[in-house]
């Protein structure tokens, strides 16, 4: 008897274009509707067709949001899957696939033959393979068949009765076969269903950060596509009509940033999205926004570099890039959401801080989080309801009036009496070029003073476990919150806790005391310990050790448990 209880990892593998994504989308939807907690993440190659990609769907009694290396069930849709994932396949892994497709590469592994294609062909179209596969998975899990049928009815309604009928048949065939496998192989799966999960929303990081942009009242985006930053651009393009968003596909990233800064100048709330390489091209524009004191929000989907690097994989190595981007000195803020909820909230906070302090603000997302799917209650999405910070102007309006906070009220052209000029040269209060040292000092200090307000409003880190009691803290940022939470729970040591930062610059003054007299272990997806260095710089703390990963994959729970156990603390 092979028993699985409370936590399974189901992996779908296949070439790009084979429908793995369709299976994933169907399966997570149906499982969520049945009341299962799910968390899905994927890894894929930078190609349109072929290669070997996989998606991991975790079904768990407790809510989880982390990747595990372990595979309990592997659906191998072609011959490359088993070799591609061999490091993750163990004796306990149950392999399913079409024997004739995978037998050459399966080696020692025992593969349960599932004739996906034959079933689909019996129904008259290989397109039904995906529905068959979902049926098989649900059959093995002993899930409720009826929910799947309802979902298919809804999902394919537009395509007509025949398509609905065939899909339901495909689902039934798969489901029956799945149950048959479970019986034959002695597989027993026990997973808790929760009524409240049925009512939850299910979305990936791209949607979360995109909805956040809508909540932030973003009404303009000019960008150039680059993975994994393109998701939010596509999202806003899809919803531009309902939310009145202007979407401009720029000729290059230099145009995108200058265009978006121009949009803010005229009164829009603009976003640019890109990845590290595209952002390299935007850097002069960041400096421009710094001196002309025009807000700009930059979303960066991080992937491993340098240069083209690993285009579809994950990394956190662009922190230094955005921290120091742009020549000269000017204020900035950097957010790095750790959950879908934080992605939604931080995007709004980014717009709020950019608008209020008239300076560049960054939202750093990791490819891993952008492509991860999770369900949670709708109420977790927190809306800020902030209004535009622009002001009406009088005839004697001075764009760069010197103020105590450093913030000069921001007018826009054509709105009221005053004229609004902005200038990339050093300028006086009227925005005209100056080379006066006295004016330069006053203007430079005015701009830099804004940093005090930005720091006062910095978002606090999230404690993981009992931070006060612990003598050692695992400090993480960005997408690593879920994996640290789960690993610490498994290790269960009183002297260990975690601290997760979703605003990584500036760091809030108040949080400094949390790190006093503690051993600090920095955990991040890069080789240089970029956040560890920033912690030293901002708080003056000593970093005892680092846990770093830079192979393009996310940390797995097992990997962190292992590393934590090996720590000499």
């Amino acid at each position: 008897m092979k028993r699985f209880s409370g936590d399974i990892s189901l992996v779908l593998g296949g070439a790009a274009g084979m429908g793995v994504q369709t299976v994933e989308a169907l399966l997570v939807q149906v499982l969520k509707r049945e009341g299962y907690n799910i968390f899905a993440s994927k890894e894929y190659m930078s190609r349109i067709r072929g290669g070997s990609n996989s998606t991991e769907i975790r079904v768990t009694d407790k809510k989880r949001s982390a990747f595990v290396k372990r595979i309990d069930f592997l659906f191998a849709m072609d011959k490359d899957v088993i070799p591609h994932l061999k490091e993750r396949i163990s004796k306990e892994t149950i392999l399913l696939g079409e024997r004739e497709k995978v037998c050459d590469t399966a080696g020692e592994c025992h593969v349960i033959d599932v004739p996906f294609t034959r079933f689909a062909n019996e129904l008259g179209n290989p397109l039904y393979t995906s529905t068959v596969a979902v049926g098989v998975a649900l059959g093995i899990l002993q899930a409720d068949e009826g929910v799947f049928a309802d979902y298919l009815r809804e999902h394919f309604a537009r395509k007509g009765e025949e398509v609905v009928k065939k899909n339901i048949e495909a689902a039934q065939k798969g489901y029956a076969f799945g149950k048959h496998i479970a019986y034959n192989e002695g597989i027993e799966v026990n997973l808790a269903k929760n009524k409240s999960v049925e009512e939850e929303i299910l979305l990936d990081g791209n949607d979360a950060v995109g909805l956040g942009a809508l909540a932030a009242r973003c009404n303009y985006i000019s960008s150039y596509p680059m993975s994994p930053g393109t998701g939010i651009l596509t999202f806003l393009a899809e919803h531009k009509k309902e939310f009145g968003i202007v979407v401009d596909q720029a000729e290059d990233e230099i145009a995108a940033i200058n265009h978006s800064i121009g949009a803010w100048y005229a009164g829009a709330r603009a976003l640019v999205t890109t990845s590290g390489g595209g952002f390299d091209l935007m850097v002069e524009g960041i400096s421009l926004a710094g001196i002309i004191e025009t807000p700009i929000v930059v979303h960066i989907g991080q992937r491993p570099g340098p240069a083209t690097g690993l285009p579809t994989r994950t990394e956190q190595a662009d922190l230094n890039l955005v921290l120091y981007a742009g020549h000269g000195e000017f204020p900035r803020a950097i957010f790095a959401p750790g959950t879908h909820e934080e992605a939604f909230f931080d995007m709004q906070q980014a717009f709020f801080i950019a608008d209020k302090y008239q300076t560049p603000v960054f939202v750093l997302m990791d490819q891993y989080l952008l492509d991860s799917v999770r369900s949670f209650p709708k109420e977790n999405l927190q809306m800020m309801n902030k209004k535009n910070a622009i002001v009406e102007t009088k005839a004697d309006y001075k764009r760069y009036a010197i103020t105590a906070s450093g913030i000069s009220p921001r007018g826009i052209p054509g709105y009221s009496e005053g004229l609004v000029g902005v200038d990339s040269d050093e300028h006086d209060e009227d925005a005209h070029i100056t080379e006066s040292a006295e004016v330069r000092i006053a203007m430079h200090e005015k701009r830099l003073r804004k940093m005090e307000g930005i720091r006062d409003e910095a978002l606090p880190p999230t404690p993981i476990g009992d931070v006060a009691r612990a003598d050692t803290l695992i400090v993480s940022w960005g997408s690593n919150r879920g994996v640290v939470e789960e690993a610490l729970e498994i290790v269960k040591r009183d002297n260990l806790a975690g601290l997760h930062f979703h605003q990584v610059y500036p760091l809030p003054k108040k949080a400094e005391k949390l790190l006093v007299k503690k051993k600090v272990i920095a955990l991040e997806n890069n080789a240089g310990g970029q956040f560890a260095n920033l912690l030293k710089l901002e708080y003056g703390v000593k970093i005892t050790d680092t846990i770093l990963k830079y192979d393009g994959d996310p940390f797995s729970v097992e990997e962190i448990v292992e590393k934590i156990k090996n720590l000499r603390v």
Binding site: N258, Y265, I292, G421, S424
Partner: protein
């Protein structure tokens, strides 16, 4: 007509241009054009890049966005999209527009926003002290090519025509009235309007002088069919005699701001539909 004095900066405003610079007449012409077209300073925005020409918005009273080298056009398109009621002029030099900003020049023309692009073309780099610009003539001796420019010059009119620009003109700062009429027509034109204005650099360009241009330039007359693109291309390619005036104009091509957005209200006046967002979030169930 609005009093032209409304556009004047206070007396004693420090100006960074050299005595005799061709930028002075262009500044005066732009003020005249705005005043004759009844465009209030509050309703005009001038975008510029970097260079001597790009300092123009500091010398008249309008809204302005003096941004980065080569990047006058992207913010100009954005401003027109956000607030279509504004008159948007992008004004920079030949190096800024055709060199550093070449890619934006190409793709702005493709978009056809309703903006006016005035290029102060002195066929030389002034502010960086006399190097060749994209429009410098082959053979022009300069500090970086002491034996003379070795590559062909950029032909802005021909490029604009090839990209289906809807208004293509060449002007000369030596002729105030003609240039003013060309710029007025460019501002009134619905769509992207290129006015390449020859503007002698009295310090660094000793080859392409006022006299050189007077000898080479001639105005197209009333018989010139502005809608004839092949004829316009022929004129654009002729570098021995330089045709002045509106070389090509076509009305009716949709402008970018009408294609990329709905309505014409400034974006900041749009209200936020929280209900729609809640509804959208609900669809993720």
């Amino acid at each position: 007509m609005i009093d032209k004095k409304l556009y004047d900066m206070p007396k004693g405003t420090d100006m960074a241009w050299c005595p005799g610079c061709g930028n002075f007449p262009i500044l005066n012409i732009v003020k005249m054009a705005l005043s004759e077209l009844d465009i209030k300073p509050q309703d005009a925005v001038i975008c510029s890049g970097i260079g001597q020409a790009a300092k123009t918005p500091h010398y008249l009273r309008v809204n302005y966005f003096n941004g980065l080298h080569g990047r006058a056009l992207p913010p100009a398109i954005a401003i027109k999209n956000v607030s279509p009621q504004l008159t948007v002029i992008a004004e920079s030099g030949d190096g800024d527009t055709y060199g550093e900003g070449g890619n934006h020049f190409i793709h702005t023309i493709r978009r056809n926003p309703d903006i006016t692009n005035i290029v102060h073309d002195n066929m030389i780099y002034g502010l960086t002290k006399g190097q060749a610009s994209p429009t410098s003539e082959k053979g022009l001796k300069n500090p970086l090519q002491p034996e003379g420019v070795i590559v062909d010059q950029f032909n802005p009119l021909a490029v604009a025509l090839a990209l289906d620009a809807t208004f293509v003109a060449r002007a000369f700062t030596g002729d105030i009235l003609q240039t003013k009429e060309i710029i007025k027509a460019a501002i009134l034109h619905k769509g992207y309007a290129l006015v390449d204005v020859f503007q002698p650099c009295v310090v660094f360009n000793k080859q392409n002088t006022y006299q050189w241009f007077k000898d080479k330039g001639y105005y197209v007359d009333e018989t010139h069919d502005k809608g004839d693109k092949m004829k316009a291309l022929e004129l654009a390619f002729d570098l021995n005699r330089l045709a002045l005036g509106i070389i090509y104009q076509r009305e009716g091509k949709p402008t970018y701001e009408t294609l990329v957005r709905e309505g014409t209200e400034p974006l900041h006046t749009r209200s936020f539909d929280k209900g729609a967002l809640e509804k959208l979030i609900g669809t993720y169930k």
